[in-house]
Symmetry: C2
Subunit: 242 residues, 2 copies
């Protein structure tokens, strides 16, 4: 029972009965026992270049065969677990689509503590916002928490392509809108919810993330310390049975 609590990061009743949905259980099992799903299967659905091409077609009606100029300029980047993708002081204007893995974006504060701004996984975009938006060296570090596969393009190169291929412009808008939507949602959560409520929401909406990432990064992203997150989880186990 205790083992389950630690791995599942879920409330466990005093009786020892787990309160998990079938989907959640399957997710955990498939992670622990990949063999169950066949040798080459991968539980975490990886996002492919096809998704982006489909997206571009849906957004702008550009046929996948016509998007070669764009994807010719993109390159696939592989990162090892723990490897830094962007470091403090970098001036590159990298923009990437995560095909597989998790990237953590964080800043080192004056007192030496790290503050995690966000955790992004497959199907999401990451962008060096200091360099792209403000044209200043990055104050943030982007680091792979798992082996990561990226589809990367430099924002300057993208801008060049867009000059000759304005038909791809909807892709840039989609990227910006999606980044904006994410940020606004997080902003909203900070002014409307308590840390505990934010954690409950994360548990409900990004359950997979909680199981793949150390709690201390989750805590930091919620704006609290790991000690506080541990207490929140204890309160959730004992009292609120939701």
């Amino acid at each position: 029972m205790l083992l389950c609590t630690l791995i599942l990061r879920l409330p466990v009743e005093k009786s020892g009965k787990l309160k998990v949905t079938l989907l959640q259980a399957w997710q955990v099992i498939s992670k622990l026992c990949p063999a169950l799903l066949g040798s080459n299967s991968n539980f975490y659905m990886s996002a492919s270049i096809d998704m982006l091409q489909q997206l571009l077609f849906d957004l702008a009606g550009v046929m996948p065969t016509d998007t070669q100029p764009l994807f010719d300029m993109a390159s696939r980047v592989l990162l090892e677990a723990g490897e830094a993708y962007i470091r403090t002081g970098d001036t590159s204007r990298k923009l990437a689509f995560i095909e597989q893995g998790i990237i953590r974006s964080y800043i080192v504060k004056d007192n030496g503590d790290e503050a995690t701004l966000f955790l992004r996984c497959e199907g999401q975009f990451i962008a060096s916002h200091d360099t792209i938006i403000h044209r200043q060296p990055s104050r943030f570090i982007y680091r792979a928490l798992e082996p990561v596969t990226l589809l990367q393009i430099d924002y300057d190169v993208l801008e060049d392509i867009l000059k000759n291929h304005p038909e791809y412009e909807p892709l840039r808008n989609f990227f910006l809108m999606r980044m904006l939507a994410d940020s606004l949602k997080i902003m909203e959560s900070f002014v409307t919810q308590s840390p505990e409520e934010r954690y409950r929401e994360l548990l409900a909406e990004r359950f997979d993330l909680i199981n793949r990432v150390p709690d201390k990064y989750i805590a930091s992203m919620l704006g609290i310390t790991p000690v506080s997150l541990s207490r929140i989880r204890k309160r959730m186990h004992t009292k609120g049975k939701s």
Copy 2:
């Protein structure tokens, strides 16, 4: 002395000596006594249509005389103090540039409390993000805190214009980037700073705002209660003389 404290929202030493810069003092005086500056002068610099045209020229090299199709579709909107610009449930996809005044964007929580997402003033954009990004009825209310002048355009109309005038596309990117930059900065402040530090920063960077807006909205935007903000300010007066 007490009067000064209330109006200036600034630390007052026990001796009664005000700790304000010349600029700050002038700002307050000019607000209290507009007559000092002449009958038609306006201290808060209003942002004009010229600024937008200049911006478009800087960004894309489009001559101001060529931007008529764009500005023909924009309309000037006047709001009284306290008037709602966008209400809960609205489906319009309004996008506006604030020429004059302050707009507060807030949401009414389940318990009836209001949570302020942001306060925007002259020179900034506001946009109904629920309708524009998610195409869902607005959960937020946008309300004028002062008499407001807006330069408004519907996002759908803007998109139509952009189909025929792709040369204005940089304006949309600028707008999205700026909204994103603002959101990211606020997100960053929530994970790296305490409420007191966020208030100090607001005091340093948006001093004008603090004097034009009731504290309770500032508190809400910082993610705390008005009572807590009052205590923070008290701590700042007595202890930290910074």
